[in-house]
């Protein structure tokens, strides 16, 4: 989730609501589906969290236009687009890699610091979120007067691409840019393994940029003398580029600029960009009734849709044709429109109903068994513990003299002490004992919960299975003390218990056995080796068992 920083005073002013307070705004945003992160009244910085689907709200102007419309200050209309007759030629070499570009030109902007900041911010935020760190969309902004049209978008051998990137004083080639320039270093993984890099060239064969990495210093610097801009975005999904170019169209228009389209000439067709050839959907009052559970007239539905910035045409007394402005990245289905209608209606006004869906409750056998075992163990004086199942190879195996390979290891883990999924609970019970050495003894603890064991026959190469593990720690312990617990448990559950002497790596030789329940080997029982206790920094004797359920 991204946040934007805006000025509350400016918002109050632009919305023209003199008695707007932070708490009132908070209520409005709440109904709209947004939250205030914080407000610094001294510096007048209001931080608002923007939910992931609303890329169009990632700027002050985006939020302002949505709020203006939502609280009925002003019905939103998408800007007029004039034709510039400028041309961008896309060569087959760029298409060979599946790339597209869409562009726009804006004129007569009067930029100041805050607007320049706004442009940079939204560009970065879109790069990060909707652009998936420039993987799906990259955006470039240029002063129009520095560029000679027509422009060419193509892919070239990196050695052939040569310009001075922003922030540098020296000409570099494509390879050098991705090795030396900070943006190159950050994003070079996007170009890994490619033998040609994308670039924009103007009609004098001057390099403008190398997307998605960096612009040229000569043509990439925008300041407050700049009046006219050229904006391009590149990526492999035409509809995503369309969304982004429409977001910028609305933004620059809101900033007071005039929007011009260009002709993007592809080898096989020409696209006018931007254009207002938007998606349309037909929605009926029944759709709203079915999904939201409210009865509204077609006129009311139109009113609510317009609050959410849609253009509508009533078809008949049930249906409306809705035009979805191209900056809405999130409207895929009429249910998305229903959701917006409900937001305009406000969720709090929806009267709760109680659907009658008759069904008889049912528990899984395994859950019932787990609960029974937990109850039996507690009646025998054991305390249930609930350790994590993620653990470390050292604590789970090496400390127990085991050299196992059949565990499932985690890939990247943020918590570097965790690197495996445990297949047994004994090491975790030790961890809890170690953390409680200063507490009262004896300590009798158990866990009855799931672990993950590897299983090559399964589709998911593993099984999530229920286990019971119990230990007793005291200054004196005995094998009988723990085996009597297991024996009682089996008696209560009506199972046949058999113990067969067997030496294990972590038990004292001659004091351990395999546990056989109903003729199946399900686990082990024994008294832990002094070595193992020392490995675990533990200075009380411990006995225990662990079995599959």
């Amino acid at each position: 989730m991204a946040t934007i920083d805006i000025s509350f005073e400016k918002l109050k002013n632009d919305l023209n609501i003199k008695d707007l307070t932070i708490s009132l705004l908070e209520e409005i945003l709440f109904d709209f589906g947004l939250e205030i992160d914080s407000y610094n009244s001294l510096e007048d910085i209001l931080k608002i969290e923007i939910t992931a689907e609303r890329t169009d709200l990632l700027s002050y102007y985006g939020l302002l236009r949505a709020l203006k419309s939502y609280i009925n200050v002003e019905k939103y209309t998408f800007p007029n687009i004039k034709k510039s007759n400028l041309v961008v030629n896309v060569l087959q070499s760029a298409r060979d890699y599946g790339n597209y570009t869409l562009c726009l030109v804006v004129k007569k902007l009067s930029l100041d610091d805050s607007k320049i900041k706004e442009i940079i911010n939204i560009q970065e935020k879109i790069h990060l979120t909707y652009g998936r760190k420039r993987k799906t969309v990259a955006i470039g902004v240029y002063p129009l007067d520095k560029i000679q049209f027509p422009i060419t978008f193509c892919a070239l051998n990196p050695k052939e691409i040569k310009f001075t990137p922003l922030g540098f004083d020296k000409e570099l080639d494509g390879f050098e840019i991705i090795k030396k320039h900070p943006a190159g270093i950050t994003y070079n993984s996007l170009l890994e393994g490619k033998d040609k890099y994308l670039c924009f060239l103007d009609s004098n064969n001057k390099f403008l940029s190398m997307p998605p990495i960096i612009n040229s210093k000569d043509t990439g610097k925008v300041d407050f003398n700049t009046k006219d801009l050229f904006i391009e975005c590149t990526g492999k999904s035409l509809h995503k580029l369309n969304h982004v170019i429409n977001i910028f169209t609305a933004l620059f228009s809101d900033m007071g600029g005039e929007i011009y389209s260009l002709e993007i000439k592809y080898p096989d067709n020409t696209i006018l960009s931007p254009n207002n050839d938007f998606n349309k959907m037909v929605i009926s009052v029944d759709d709203v009734k079915n999904l939201i559970g409210i009865d509204i007239s077609v006129e009311k539905m139109k009113f609510f849709l317009e609050k959410m910035m849609y253009d509508c045409k009533i078809i008949d007394n049930k249906k409306i044709e809705v035009i979805i402005i191209g900056f809405r990245t999130d409207v895929l289905h009429i249910n998305d429109l229903c959701d917006d209608i409900a937001r305009a209606y406000t969720f709090s006004k929806i009267i709760p109903t109680n659907a009658k869906v008759v069904s008889i409750s049912e528990r899984l056998d395994e859950s019932i068994l787990q609960e029974d075992i937990i109850r039996i163990m507690t009646t025998m004086g054991f305390i249930e513990v609930m350790p994590l199942i993620l653990g470390s190879k050292k604590e789970s195996f090496e400390n127990f003299n085991l050299n196992k390979t059949d565990y499932i290891s985690l890939g990247f883990s943020a918590e570097n002490s965790l690197n495996i999924i445990n297949s047994w609970y004994i090491p975790k019970l030790f961890k809890i004992l170690i953390n409680n050495q200063h507490k009262f003894f004896p300590q009798k603890i158990f866990v009855c919960d799931y672990v993950v064991i590897s299983d090559n026959k399964s589709d998911i190469l593993s099984k999530t299975v229920l286990k019971l593990s119990a230990v007793i720690a005291n200054n004196i312990i005995s094998f009988t003390e723990i085996s009597s617990v297991l024996y009682s448990l089996c008696n209560i559950l009506g199972k046949k218990l058999e113990l067969r002497k067997k030496d294990l790596e972590f038990f004292i030789s001659g004091r351990s056995a395999e546990v056989i329940i109903d003729d199946k080997i399900v686990g082990f029982i024994g008294e832990f080796l002094p070595d193992v206790l020392i490995n675990n920094n533990y200075t009380n004797p411990v006995c225990g068992f662990e079995i599959f359920i």
Binding site: T51, S237, C338, S348, I351, T353, I383, A414
Partner: protein, 496 residues
């Protein structure tokens, strides 16, 4: 003359013999039950024959960061080592790359450097002071001493406590000292405990029963208990069972397919980023039903027959084969969708409660594993107003009646709502559940035509509210305090 019971005599002689001893030593050395020993100690104290001394002692343990700092080196040292002679500008601090330090650690280290005067900043250039090595070395030596349980001045203790390198534990100890000799007679005419012999030979008849201090409360019984979190898991499970839901389950390790693709989460969605999910370096096998897989593919690519635009990209079957640790229990829901009978596809109610995993570092509010409960309802004409109705009934069972609902965004539900509950005590609204109506794109591959409402709730959050704890590690995990597990009180099944 003082009258001693048998146990009084044993304790008296033992303390006299040792002249000084701790409570633990007495218990270890005397073959009597703890209650008798306690009673005798109280008696001897009241007769001024022994004295009791209660004192507190602090134990300092190295925390994880402390241990790591000893192993890897202090982060401020790593930072200073890096900064030296590099003329790094303060504004580019966030962009530097240091082995072993992530960005948060760099910022933290910078803060430490500033506070401990390890660096100077001239014209925005960060320069380590000349003697920074010595300054850090001194701290290191002190930390080592603490790790060996050696005495260190309070200044350093405070310093390391603040940096969470060490933690403090206070323990209470009791010592007893012998005060004076006395003559006594052994009280053989009184009976301490009635036994079967005295019943059989009727010898109790000539004796009197020694009075007990019945009003004094003893040490609580050391009983077996279920875990406090289990109690809450049972509560939430009961809520669903009371409302007629059937239980379902799915494995911890699962295919990305079940946790993401089947839920219409696009393959380039940020949820697939490394930061949240444990991606296992393994690929599993997809369900064999190829027409089902084709439906998933189509619905992603073009919405198939749902009248949705779809994600408009090429769905890559291989990405969905990667195994992950499930990030939510919704995978159980989608696995269940595939098993539903035709009747159940019209009308059914299911719930699951289980562990989920997030690839996060451990702190006071985050553990990499926690529990989620989730339920879904399929019904004729079921809608958002029914979802709100269900949530109201569900939360009322937890004592929550004052709620407000906010529209939100989930990739697999639309509409989606967040539910906030008002807590009078805290005078604040707390987000308590997330819910919504599954997108048509999610349901189409399973042939479910009715709306499906669903809601999920985090168990640990409820547990923290019910037990009034602010640190999740106190509730659950490897650091559980066994004393709390022994004596916690069962909270009522009402949050408010």
């Amino acid at each position: 003359m003082i009258r001693f019971s048998v146990s009084d005599e044993i304790v008296y002689l033992k303390i006299k013999n040792l002249s000084k001893c701790s409570f633990e030593e007495l218990i270890e050395n005397i073959d009597l039950d703890v209650d008798s020993i306690r009673r005798s100690i109280e008696f001897l104290k009241s007769e001024n024959l022994i004295s009791e001394n209660i004192f507190f002692s602090n134990i300092y343990n190295l925390e994880k960061i402390g241990l790591e700092s000893l192993k890897k080196g202090f982060i401020e040292e790593i930072l200073c080592d890096f900064l030296i002679n590099k003329n790094i500008n303060i504004s580019s601090l966030k962009e530097i790359n240091i082995n072993n330090l992530n960005i948060q650690e760099i910022i933290l280290a910078f803060g430490v450097c500033k506070k401990d005067n390890l660096i100077n900043i001239k014209d925005s250039i960060i320069v380590p002071v000349l003697d920074y090595k010595e300054k850090i070395k001194e701290k290191k030596e002190k930390l080592l001493l603490i790790s060996e349980n050696k005495e260190v001045s309070d200044k350093y203790i405070d310093y390391f406590l603040k940096r969470n390198f060490i933690s403090k534990k206070q323990i209470t100890k009791k010592n007893y000292a012998f005060l004076k000799n006395t003559d006594y007679i052994l009280d053989s005419d009184t009976i301490l405990n009635l036994d079967s012999d005295s019943l059989k030979n009727k010898s109790y008849k000539n004796k009197i029963f020694k009075e007990f201090e019945v009003e004094k409360l003893p040490k609580p019984k050391d009983a077996g208990r279920i875990h406090p979190l289990r109690q809450i898991l049972y509560y939430i499970r009961d809520l669903y069972l009371e409302m007629g839901f059937k239980e379902m389950k799915s494995p911890y390790v699962d295919l990305s397919f079940w946790s993401m693709d089947s839920m219409f989460i696009s393959q380039d969605h940020p949820m697939r980023d490394l930061q949240d999910t444990f991606f296992l370096p393994l690929n599993g096998k997809l369900p064999k039903d190829s027409s089902f897989l084709k439906k998933i593919k189509d619905v992603h690519e073009n919405g198939s027959k749902t009248n949705s635009l779809g994600h408009r990209y090429l769905w890559d079957i291989d990405i969905s084969k990667q195994l992950i640790l499930r990030t939510h229990t919704t995978a159980s829901t989608f696995r269940k969708f595939l098993e539903l009978s035709e009747d159940e596809k019209q009308n059914s109610k299911y719930f699951s409660i289980g562990k989920v995993f997030r690839n996060e570092t451990i702190d006071g509010t985050h553990l990499p594993e926690f529990h989620q409960a989730e339920g879904f309802v399929i019904g004729d004409n079921i809608s958002l107003s029914d979802l709100i109705g269900f949530i109201k009934v569900f939360l009322k069972k937890l004592g929550i009646e004052k709620i407000k609902i906010k529209p939100t965004y989930n990739p697999y539900t639309e509409p989606s709502i967040e539910v906030f509950a008002f807590f009078e005590e805290k005078n604040s609204w707390v987000e308590i559940m997330n819910s919504g109506i599954f997108r048509k794109e999610c349901l189409f591959p399973y042939g479910i035509k009715n709306n499906v409402i669903a809601w999920g709730i985090g168990i640990e959050r409820i547990a923290m509210l019910l037990y009034n704890k602010t640190n999740i590690k106190e509730i659950y995990g490897d650091e559980n305090d066994i004393d709390w597990l022994r004596k916690y009180s069962i909270p009522p099944r009402r949050l408010i």
